[in-house]
Subunit: 142 residues, 2 copies
Amino acid sequence: MESSDLKKAGLKITLPRMKILEFMEASDVRHHSADDIHSALREKGEDIGLATVYRVLTQFENKGLVDRHRFEGDNQVSNQSVFELKIKGHHDHIVCVSCGKVEEFYDETIELRQKEVAVAKGYEVTGHSLTLYGKCPACKKS
Amino acid sequence: MESSDLKKAGLKITLPRMKILEFMEASDVRHHSADDIHSALREKGEDIGLATVYRVLTQFENKGLVDRHRFEGDNQVSNQSVFELKIKGHHDHIVCVSCGKVEEFYDETIELRQKEVAVAKGYEVTGHSLTLYGKCPACKKS
DNA sequence: CTAGTTGCAAAAGATTTGCAGACGT
DNA sequence: ACGTCTGCAAATCTTTTGCAACTAG
């Protein structure tokens, strides 16, 4: 399923692209910084440059294969963008401010209301970004 | 009202801090990058370093005087953080992807639903960030 | 073969930090 | 006077770009 996605997107099937896609699919975590991916692949013995990782992710983003997020919020740990495969439908995020864990959720009520708010202001909506910040169950105890 | 805010926050009342606060209060735009503020003050003849602007804004953020946002979204223009005075109550943002204009809104339904979603997942909410992206009325025509 | 890709190093943009001097209280 | 700030320059961090070599189709 990987190579067909690339072909469909009009991108040549190259080793770095395959490796990056594979890594993102195989990982149990869904959000990765460019550096995460680069280090992970390096450790696996792949010789892929960080610049290539950025280039590939940017291409994927433009082709609609991945989303790029910039989590902000209370105790922001890093300034890096994070990327996630766009295999599932749209959803928003909830980030733990203590351990950095990211979960996803989708709420029809919120989605609908957002559109209403925008239209009421005369906007033509093209997208949105919603992220909740808080302490996850595990971190609440400590 | 400015100096008292600073004093309350436990910060010395210095010229750069006053100037930055004044500028943010006086401006009709509510969101400014560190560089915006720096340039604006420079043009007014104030001799304030960019590093100081960043330091002051970061202090203000920690003291709860300002919020820092990192708008992401469809046609990302810049990677700069923007800061806004926290004088008004909480609200979210709607950003025009064409002209970059930022408007604010507050919707009780969305706020409520967010809290519900987080609680349902066992989180203790500490904050959230919601930004809609779209074309503003003026830009829709073009 | 040929255009699209890659790795590396250098560049660029945003933000932070070290330090000596200046300022607020 | 004293500890806090400030400006400047240098350092850091993240991301992008130039370029010569390489590779998929």
